[in-house]
Symmetry: C2
Subunit: 327 residues, 2 copies
């Protein structure tokens, strides 16, 4: 039986992933043993998986998690970009140092097993590993020059995951998720939160604040695609990565104005009228340093798939997550 | 008076740099206060600077060094590539974790000073941050995809130095030194050691082993250029880096066969006859993953200069380092 551990399993993507794994299994195992780890869990979360709470900053936590010897570790736990920028110590402790402790603990288990224990790790990195100035489309050989602490921490974790994998202690890969949109539920502290808010709030009849000009172009994929990326990565033949174990993923590039047009097509002018421009310098500064478009040929050739338009992304939210949705 | 700290000040480049600083001063200060830190020092090392020994792995060492409040820190201390590959724990502890401890200790001093203490840090990174496959020439936007632990550790330190600088705790930059050639003295554990050995040993009438085919192309600069890069970086206006604080430097791209021809021009066939082919699979495996040529436009536009041919590199060794050299 496949043992699966989801770090950050209480978060939005973690819950989507857990629901998919409960329904579909993983890699031919219809009923894997799933454990979710997080600081807290939503009250009406996915049923089935075991829940475990703890503090990833504590090296003992890493030892405890590694001792469970999961076959597959989905590592989604992170302090989001906005909070990493305002709380420097916390961001580095959670986003960088806890990865180090976890990798070291997994290496100890690898050694104790005589080398037979080599878990698959799928780590959610971010397009924040990139920094301006950019080409029109970021290709698979463009440098990581992050301009936020969050981006630096993610880029560092990518390097660690790759080197521990090269040495055979784990079999890992890092997925640079597009900004996940439309996020269900409440706004969070991520600087990117508004990209979802301007679609989600109007669809729920609530006013939404837009902190940036509508000319801002960005890179999106749905929560459904995010779960799909993670599941695809968990079973991928990593030899095909040829040592480059950090991947930019497919997504939809569009401007905020194009997002709003998709909202109009889905829900009409009265939804669009609920969006209020409320410029926020701090968010503008962070977001204007973010990527706008990608040419993720490696990920596409490896079989990763996302939506092909923002209309599809809106549709996923309406079908899966809008309160009283049918799916 | 400028306070200068050289970490790795007992090593070859550290000693070259110290000698230059003693002779020339730094940034208009003719007699800076120089402290060299290392695990050990050569018996007949550069006179003048204070010497300090210690273990960089110990976080208390970082606290002690930061408390000296150096204005300029040259960070050259590292476990070399070959040893980092065979001793995984030691490489990560020295090459990555000690940088973290140092940056954290400097951030504490910055905070204690009310933000006025912002030391310049010049960190010696390496072209080992890159990994094959490569374009013909690596430009300034090519990704870091290291294929050794040493390269991963250097790439991680670059990211840390950049983020601590972006936050204003230090004012740092990372220099990706070409392979330094011709290194005086004895062979070391670096996988690149033979690039110097095949020139140095024959010039001293001693047999040299060549562990790779002579078609291997690589990227070189002299120890004199290395010291020059570091001194240039110490006084550079870092605003000109526009947030990208890791730089590939100029150098000379040539094959081992071209190195040998330069040796022949400098010292004749009897020198060349002292080179013996002795293939070494382990070294070949590491070196074949290394860069061959660069197009380092940013560094050149920022005023960094190296030799323009391998003949010049041989000449630097003969003039400065050959026993009984005149300079």
């Amino acid at each position: 039986m496949t043992k699966i551990l989801i770090l950050g399993g209480g978060g939005m993507v973690g819950q989507k992933l857990a629901a998919r794994l409960v329904n579909e299994g993983l890699g031919g195992d219809a009923a894997p043993e799933i454990t979710l780890f997080d600081v807290a869990f939503p009250p009406a979360g996915v049923g089935g998986p075991a829940q475990m709470t703890g503090d990833l900053k504590d090296p003992e936590t890493a030892v405890r998690l590694a001792a469970m010897k999961p076959d597959v570790i989905f590592h989604l736990a992170a302090i989001v970009s906005g909070e990493s920028e305002t709380n420097f110590e916390k961001g580095w402790a959670i986003n960088m140092m806890s990865m180090w402790h976890l990798l070291e603990a997994l290496r100890q288990e690898h050694d104790k097993s005589g080398g037979s224990y080599v878990p698959r790790m799928v780590f959610t990195s971010s397009i924040a590993v990139f920094g301006a100035p950019y080409p029109d489309k970021i290709d698979d050989e463009f440098l990581s020059a992050p301009q936020t602490s969050y981006g630096a921490q993610k880029a560092i974790c990518e390097l660690m995951v790759t080197d521990f994998s090269r040495k055979g202690f784990i079999d890992g890969m890092s997925l640079r998720l597009p900004t996940i949109c439309v996020r269900p539920g409440k706004a969070n502290l991520a600087a990117s939160s508004f990209f979802s808010g301007i679609i989600r709030e109007p669809l729920n009849g609530v006013e939404a604040l837009l902190p940036v000009p509508d000319t801002v172009r960005h890179w999106h994929a749905s929560p459904r695609s995010a779960a799909g990326f993670l599941i695809h990565a968990a079973s991928l033949d990593t030899d095909r990565l040829e040592g480059r174990r950090a991947l930019s993923l497919p997504g939809v590039s569009c401007t905020v104005a194009e997002q709003i047009e998709a909202l109009r097509r889905a829900a009409g002018q009265k939804a669009v009228d609920l969006i209020r421009h409320a410029p926020d310098e701090a968010i503008m500064k962070i977001v204007q340093g973010w990527p706008r478009d990608f040419d993720p040929q490696r990920a596409i050739s490896l079989g990763f798939r996302a939506e092909s338009s923002f209309d599809e992304i809106v549709d996923v939210y309406i079908k899966e997550d809008l309160p009283n949705a049918t799916a």
